[in-house]
């Protein structure tokens, strides 16, 4: 069978060979088309190399295109044969009247990627860069990085030529290609090649107006990496890029947004900045209604980034981020995130009212995220607390089964109670929650329940029974739940010493031999504390904070210094993952940035000084770990170590923690 198959293929090749060498032109052409068809499918037709390149002598451009396609594919397999083509190439480049042929030849030449052929290429390439026809020039310019990649040692003269071309080139498309190809070489070369001066910038800006859209992207993208020398220059560049904001291609618009946002930092004039922001935001919002959800998604991911630096852009625009019912869920999740970020002291009620409706959606995961968002907003704005509790309790009333949203409900309610203890009184919240306590099945939700039972034991009629139930299954629980049960158990014991003495004994007995060192340590600490000074334990464990606690959640996505790098890569795939490019790709080096602080553009007109921002951040870091609910590590380590050496000095800290 194999023999038969081979034979047949050889037969096909044989036929093609005969046709290729036929004197009839049409027959040759048909044969070449067949060769290309085989090549596309992946059959090896490299044996016909000699016969194919013989056909190059015809001046038929269609035939030439086909043959070049063939040569590009097989030149690396047959470098020795490929040398024979060189003469033809050089002839095409030098002698042909037709710019199409010249460009075709140089384009194909660049794709050969055979080091020993490249030396023959340099001279024709130089000619083409100086060609009269822009079509040839634009092709030649892109040829340089192709050659540079394979044999950089041949290129210094050409690089100089490129720099000269940059100064005198007048065709927009050639300029755009030139910029792109020089940038590519810069990466390979590791040196800066493009030296911008005001004249060149002026020219690039002119080119943007005339260029095709992809060229506009190249140029805008390049200008966005440039640091303007002064406010005046920044202003000119911004002004010239403004019309791009209303381009139909979303990438062009987005590149313009990126450029302008970057240059805003360099402007001295505050009013101008405000006006510009007013012009940018409608464009970004239009991108959001782009008909492909995939593109909407990339824009949304980037907006959460932009928001951190430019809250001013979406002032009064929160409605834009309301979810419509027919959107894909990945868009809805992203919009939820943004709604939380965009929320401020003025519009939080509007946002909460919207979230209230999402709670009734069908998708449990979406509802869970909604509940989490409500919690986040309540933590940020004291005034929102009451409303948030009302919404969540209303939801709790209808809970009938253990599902995802219920888990989140417990977690968020616990955080809200921690923020303001007196919330337990409102809306019968405690009673309603207690009724559905059995639906908690995720460790985090269970530990939240355990906390609630311990904290509000005196207001829950059956708290001791409930705790007994938990402790009976102590060993089956997750570590997180065990730790919380310990603390809550001790709280109960202090509140009802006589009722709970058996209970605490059972608790300590089951926990003291735990394999988990954290659980074991905490057990011993409580045990010793209780046996030495119960009064101290009472002060420690049952400390009640007056009023609401001042903790907030840090919802910023990025560290300031990373934010700047991220903004420079706006729109790229790394930002889609909310990662820095070098975290995603090993081969990408990030430009070192010396700017340590980012200017934040707030709604209230005043530009907040970076130092203050830093201050807030530091404060937040010193906050107790309630905010780090996600990081369970912090949640138990600190109480344990702090309790161990509890003296008056760090008492306050400890109270907060428990």
């Amino acid at each position: 069978m194999a023999y038969f198959g081979n034979n047949q293929q050889r037969g096909e090749l044989q036929e093609l060979y005969i046709d290729l060498n036929d004197l009839n032109f049409e027959k040759k052409k048909e044969a070449i088309k067949k060769v290309i068809a085989y090549m596309t499918v992946g059959k090896d037709v490299s044996q016909l190399f000699q016969s194919v390149i013989k056909c190059l002598e015809f001046q038929d451009i269609e035939m030439k295109k086909l043959i070049y396609l063939y040569i590009v594919n097989y030149s690396r397999q047959k470098p020795d044969d490929a040398i024979m083509v060189i003469q033809n190439f050089r002839k095409d480049v030098r002698k042909s009247e037709n710019p199409l042929v010249r460009a075709l030849a140089i384009r194909t030449f660049g794709c050969l990627r055979v080091p020993k052929l490249n030396e023959y290429l340099i001279e024709p390439l130089k000619d083409c860069i100086q060609d009269d026809d822009p079509y040839v020039r634009k092709t030649a310019v892109l040829c340089v990085p192709k050659v540079f990649e394979v044999s950089p040692e041949l290129c210094p003269a050409i690089l100089e030529q490129l720099q000269k071309l940059l100064e005198k080139e007048s065709n927009a498309l050639v300029l755009a290609n030139l910029i792109q190809s020089m940038r590519e070489i810069e990466v390979l070369y590791g040196k800066q090649l493009i030296i911008l001066n005001p004249k060149i910038i002026q020219k690039l800006l002119l080119a943007v107006d005339e260029c095709i859209e992809w060229g506009q992207i190249f140029i805008l993208d390049y200008l966005a990496t440039h640091d303007p020398v002064d406010s005046k220059q920044a202003e000119t560049i911004i002004e010239r890029s403004l019309p791009r904001l209303s381009h139909i291609n979303p990438t062009v618009t987005f590149c313009a947004v990126k450029l302008i946002l970057k240059y805003l930092d360099y402007l001295d004039n505050g009013d101008l900045v405000k006006n510009l922001c007013k012009k940018i935001s409608p464009s970004i919002i239009s991108l959001l209604s782009w008909n492909q959800p995939e593109i909407q998604y990339t824009i949304l991911r980037n907006i959460s980034l932009i928001l951190q630096k430019f809250p001013i852009l979406f002032e009064n625009e929160v409605k834009v981020f309301f979810c419509s019912f027919n959107e894909p869920y990945y868009i809805k999740y992203e919009k939820l995130e943004i709604m939380v970020r965009i929320c401020d002291s003025k519009n939080f009620l509007q946002v909460l009212n919207e979230l209230k409706i999402y709670i009734n959606e069908a998708d449990p995961h979406f509802v869970r995220k909604t509940i989490k968002s409500i919690g986040k907003i309540a933590i940020m704005y004291d005034k929102a607390l009451q409303e948030a509790v009302t919404i969540l309790i209303e939801f709790a009333k209808n809970v009938q089964q253990a599902n995802e949203p219920v888990q989140e409900l417990f977690i968020q309610m616990q955080i809200l109670y921690r923020k303001n203890r007196y919330l337990y009184k409102s809306n019968d919240s405690l009673k309603i929650l207690f009724n559905i306590l059995e639906y908690a099945n995720e460790p985090e939700a269970k530990s939240a329940c355990a906390w609630i039972v311990g904290e509000f034991a005196e207001f829950i009629p059956k708290s001791v029974e409930k705790m007994q139930e938990y402790i009976d299954h102590f060993l089956l629980e997750d570590r997180l739940v065990q730790l919380q049960l310990l603390t809550s158990g001790v709280k109960l014991y202090i509140k009802y010493p006589s009722l709970c003495s058996a209970l605490i004994q059972q608790l300590i007995n089951s926990a003291k031999d735990s394999f988990n060192p954290d659980v074991r340590d905490r057990t011993y600490i409580y045990w010793r504390l209780l046996s030495t000074d119960p009064e101290l334990v009472k002060n420690l464990v049952c400390y009640q904070v007056k009023g609401s606690q001042q903790f907030q959640k840090d919802i910023r996505l990025w560290e300031t210094k990373d934010l700047i790098i991220a903004l420079e890569n706006m729109g790229s795939i790394s930002n889609l993952f909310h990662k820095l490019p070098n975290q995603l790709y090993k081969n990408i080096k990030v430009r070192n940035n010396h700017q340590k602080e980012a200017k934040i553009y707030k709604v209230d007109d005043k530009l907040e000084s970076p130092s203050k921002e830093q201050q807030i951040k530091n404060d937040q870091q010193n906050q107790p770990p309630q905010q780090n609910q996600d990081l369970d590590l912090l949640n138990f380590e600190e109480p344990a170590s702090n309790n161990n050496q509890s003296n008056n000095k760090n008492k306050i800290d400890v109270y907060d923690l428990i």
């Binding site: 290309i36 068809a37 596309t40 499918v41 451009i61 269609e62 295109k65 086909l66 396609l69 384009r107 660049g110 794709c111 990627r113 092709t139 892109l142 040829c143 290609n177 190809s181 095709i212 859209e213 992809w214 992207i217 190249f218 904001l245 209303s246 381009h247 139909i248 291609n249 979303p250 990438t251 618009t253 987005f254 409608p282 464009s283 919002i285 239009s286 209604s289 008909n291 995939e294 593109i295 990339t298 824009i299 009064n316 309301f322 419509s324 019912f325 027919n326 409706i357 009734n360 069908a362 209808n398 890569n569 729109g571 790229s572 795939i573 790394s574 889609l576 995603l584 790709y585 990408i588």
Partner: protein, 439 residues
């Protein structure tokens, strides 16, 4: 940028494979296809395997794929592939496996002009037309296979199902064609009502789309409403048409828009979007929905929905579909239409727990209503169940009508002296995007 571009058949055979940078293994098409098959349903438009980014779109059942190892811009890559598909369609008339296989040389040509070293170059049909030497080969017109094939996907952003256009499925290279131009104004509505039919949020996404078969591509002048205004100031109310924002195709010169409300257009061949616009202000919603929910007993609920068409009586809306989610604990639902209702159906889908109400035709000014009688399972009471009803979502299409009142005053072909006066076709179409009433 892109390292390779390839086109795969639905079975994973390579139809076109162009390697621009030779920096990736030759086996990427197989890698792609294997990965794409692991998704249930359509594959993600963008995914990564071994540090290689694959971006793809699906057209006519074919995968058009771009690969890269760079930090590319996802929005741009998808847009590029989409443009490429549009070019191929402009040249070949349609995209399907047979046509692509027959025209693979032409497609290599298109690819070579559109991309160099993976960077996009000339990507507009009329720009590369002079550079292409091959003619498209049309597939056998009336073969049985063709008629069996599902309808070819068009590149309309909006695909109307009421008025078919003669403009689709035609190659721009066909020289003997009528000298004509089609102008479509599409508007998609987003409206959110609360239960008392008060509008909470509304917006319009619209576009003016042209399909040009004008010979010699003469410059055009398109005039819009005199009372058009672009950019909304806060707290401003005006009787005119206010667009919040708009953007234009490259061939459009919008310098005179503010002054004379005219656009100067240098039309390319084939289909293109002249202008996209967005309106967030108040407009009269074409349909109003009035839901009434009554608890008859602890296990019975009655939902009455009234629909009112608030537009001119001459205009007819078509394919209006209204979906009403009902409680999961519903035991039975019974729908009741007005007596001798015509071209109207209401059905209860017990799997999805949804009532679907379809109205084939609805004249402006008319009212319709539907009554749904629900019987609940014993486990739930009417009081808690009623919260699960809704939101009501509506889909519709209204031909020859637009909500924004944006209008084309005239479309003038600037080049005089041409003996034949080209045909100009103008259509208006309004569709629902998200038309929702909360209960």
């Amino acid at each position: 940028m892109f390292s390779q571009i390839f086109i795969l058949s639905p079975r994973g055979d390579t139809i076109i494979n162009r390697d621009f940078r030779s920096d990736l293994p030759k086996s990427t098409p197989e890698t792609f296809f294997r990965q794409a098959k692991t998704y249930s349903g359509d594959a993600n438009p963008l995914f990564t395997v071994d540090c290689i980014q694959f971006a793809h779109i699906k057209r006519g059942g074919l995968y058009i794929v771009g690969t890269s190892r760079f930090n590319l811009q996802p929005a741009m890559s998808l847009e590029l592939l989409d443009r490429l598909a549009k070019e191929i369609k402009d040249f070949c008339g349609v995209i399907n496996e047979e046509v692509l296989r027959k025209n693979f040389i032409l497609i290599y040509e298109i690819l070579d002009e559109s991309f160099d070293f993976g960077y996009p170059q000339l990507m507009a049909t009329e720009q590369i037309k002079p550079l292409i030497v091959n003619d498209p080969i049309q597939p056998q017109p009336d073969s049985v296979m063709n008629s069996l094939r599902p309808k070819i996907q068009t590149f309309n952003i909006f695909v109307p199902n009421t008025i078919g256009s003669q403009a689709v499925q035609r190659s721009v290279l066909n020289k003997n064609q009528a000298n004509e131009i089609f102008v479509d104004i599409y508007e998609k509505l987003n409206v959110l009502f609360n239960s008392s039919a008060y509008v909470i949020n509304q917006s319009i996404e619209g576009c003016i789309q042209m399909t040009s078969f004008l010979q010699g591509n003469p410059p055009l002048k398109l005039a819009l409403n005199d009372d058009l205004q672009i950019g909304r100031q806060q707290g401003q109310y005006s009787a005119g048409v206010i667009l919040d924002d708009c953007n234009f195709h490259e061939c459009v010169n919008a310098n005179e828009l503010d002054m004379n409300k005219t656009l100067r257009i240098q039309p390319p061949d084939g289909q293109f979007v002249v202008m996209n616009y967005r309106i967030s202000g108040d407009y009269a919603a074409p349909f109003r929905l009035f839901p009434i929910i009554e608890e008859i007993s602890s296990s019975k609920i009655e939902v009455t929905i009234k629909l009112k068409a608030c537009f001119d009586a001459k205009i007819i809306a078509s394919y209006a579909t209204i979906r009403i989610p009902i409680p999961k604990q519903t035991a039975n639902a019974y729908t009741e239409l007005v007596k001798n209702a015509q071209q109207e159906t209401a059905e209860y889908d017990s799997n999805k727990k949804m009532v679907e109400w379809q109205i084939k035709k609805l004249n402006g000014g008319q009212e319709r209503s539907l009554k749904i009688k629900l019987t609940l399972q014993a486990t739930q009471t009417a009081h808690t169940a009623r919260k699960e009803i809704g939101p009501i979502a509506m889909n519709f299409e209204i031909p020859m009508f637009n909500v924004s009142r944006l209008q084309i005053k005239y479309l003038r072909i600037e080049e005089r002296g041409n003996t034949t006066n080209p045909h100009r076709w103008v259509r208006y179409i309004t569709q629902s995007s998200s038309y929702v009433c909360r209960i």
